[in-house]
Symmetry: C2
DNA sequence: TTTATTTACGCAAACGTTCCCGGTAACGAT
DNA sequence: ATCGTTACCGGGAACGTTTGCGTAAATAAA
């Protein structure tokens, strides 16, 4: 089955003109008479001419499409970011190609190769928690592919980045738990190498110190797949519950981790917030419906996406190489609900 | 900024061959000597040659990309379907372009035009609840664009369709409520024109009749935007609560409707399931965490996506026009939890 | 040795555009 | 009458591939 489209040639033939004239008329060139222009434009409209984007891409050597790599689109944070990206990209005539890494460095590499081979004009990516080797990404970038990082950014590559204020977000979350009277606050977070993990840990630790608590390494648990596999959350919780002094509050530093921890707490019949307070990063729109309603740190996901694509388009459409990069840091929102309302 | 790639010409020049020879060597043509092939292939590998998909697209007159239109990717059902589509598309060398209609017929049309102009090779779509005019879709289809419908299918167009067994799913849900002792069972569903609405209504009505209940039209409420706007759900619930005999159970026929109804019930301090039982279509992975844990009808979303893309690729890659269309109907799963455990 | 066949490669067109060069009128100025 | 402008328009190359056709050399058959 094939889908036959009308081309500039058809117009030229029908009107007894050359393709160049038609092309110019359509692009409103000054060296075409108003009369001819009218003729061409009217006829083009009549037969519903649509320029072939593929031919254009070949000529201009760009595809007017940009790649997005996230670990999972079913994750509310990422789907909201994508919404933000799409909202701008569409109006600027770009289409987006989404690939999911599923928190696997291997799949991420495959996605990267796939997108590169489809010659996207730019890339927006939140890397895997697994990723340690950025050489392919670096190579792509050095060969001229514009890249913008968001959320899980990589600092080794100098380009635009957009994140939320992880330190402050975590500080606020931890401080809230302290204010509520919790004493033994555990942190369940992603893999140690990740920049956002470091930042969220820093915020957590700073809040503890500022309020006269000591940081207990036993209370900090890393899930190297960010909760994509339930078993690692289970390990974390088991270890936490194996301690002499069990935590009386948990701060979960990502969407999947938050629901994962709650699931396990429920399985253990631990009462939230009476026995354990729970606060988590989340962008889900159902956290108020959960039992108990969840106190969350919410990231401005949609805006993150919008800013990321703006910065990327800026790079793509820039005449000369961009050298002045910025890291945009957005504020998070703390939404207080019952899951931390114990004491 | 530009991203310079290595072409077949570079190889030809470097090796003192013609581009045709290089092309043929790369495609392992019989009329190229083994020696030359080895040379070309080795060199291509060395400089990491990647065929330009755009040039190929122009030549073959296809883009190896397929369009997907759903109302919202943040919806778990749709993101799972997309996962299914992607899982197959990627292995077959196709990339997917996702567009969101946001339940707006206007945006849907714009998406359609956008995808058509990007010359996708095929389309997988679940139409808007608003859509009543299928002429553009029909036109596209008649001009040769392969289309597969899923979920919200349109019967006026004869092509492959894949849905879940809506009648049975709704029958089971309604029967479950009856079995639990509920007597006044309301249905909150999408706009009346939609095929899946009709089917789900049919299942609901059949179950009622089969068990000696009369169908009360007052108990059937339509939300024309499928719950995308909270106000319409509010209207529905308000009307239901305005009845002399209030319903003692609600069957919500979509993801957004289910959480939307629950939200309103909570706002009214209605106890679920004691005062009102609640069952809903949902593919969210957190329904067990909700208060109360939700009884749901779950669709095989991932499989729906996989089958849809299989059927589409079959159409795309078929030499002669496909005339034999099938409608695949998959079974839903009823997951019983506390929200219907009243009596 | 001559002719027919095979082997191995190059030429050029095509896909749909854009755009750099031209070129041809018409017209006013010299 | 000649020249320089201006206004319009067409020819053709180019973007990176594939592919039908042509053809030289090498080999086989006569």
């Amino acid at each position: 089955m094939k889908f036959e489209a009308v081309t500039i040639k058809d117009i030229a033939k029908a009107l007894g003109l050359s393709t160049s004239t038609v092309s110019r008329a359509l692009r409103d060139s000054y060296e075409i008479s108003p009369e001819t222009k009218r003729l061409v434009i009217e006829y083009a409209q009549k037969i519903n001419y649509q320029p072939n984007p593929i031919a254009l891409s070949l000529k201009e050597r760009k595809s007017r499409s940009i790649g997005i790599i996230v670990c999972e689109i079913a994750n509310s944070f990422f789907s909201q970011v994508i919404n933000g990206i799409e909202s701008i990209a569409n109006t600027r005539g770009y289409n987006i190609i989404i690939a999911q890494s599923k928190e696997s460095a291997e799949r991420e590499l495959a996605d990267l190769q796939f997108l590169a081979s489809r010659s996207v004009d730019g890339l927006i990516i939140s890397v895997t928690t697994e990723t340690t080797d950025y050489s392919f990404l670096k190579d792509l970038y050095q060969r001229g592919l514009p890249i913008v990082f968001f959320d899980r950014i990589v600092n080794e590559i100098a380009t635009h980045k957009v994140i939320s204020d992880n330190v402050k977000g975590s500080y606020d979350a931890t401080k809230h738990l302290i204010d509520q009277g919790y004493k033994n606050i555990a942190l369940v977070t992603s893999s140690e190498g990740l920049f956002i993990t470091k930042e969220r840990m820093a915020g957590y630790q700073a809040a503890l110190k500022d309020h006269g608590f000591v940081v207990n390494a036993d209370y900090i648990k890393h899930c190297n797949h960010s909760g994509m596999i339930q078993a690692e959350i289970e390990d974390a919780v088991n270890q936490l519950w194996g301690l002499r002094k069990k935590p009386d509050a948990i701060f979960a530093a990502s969407d999947k981790l938050t629901t994962g921890v709650l699931r396990l707490l429920k399985a253990r019949k631990v009462k939230v917030p009476q026995q354990v307070g729970l606060i988590g990063y989340s962008n889900a729109d159902y956290t108020e419906l959960i039992d108990p309603p969840l106190t969350i740190v919410k990231q401005p996901a949609f805006e993150i996406g919008q800013i990321a694509i703006e910065l990327l388009l800026q790079m793509i459409e820039s005449k000369r190489p961009v050298t002045d990069f910025e890291t945009r840091v957005l504020n998070t929102e703390l939404i207080i609900r019952a899951s931390t309302r114990s004491k």
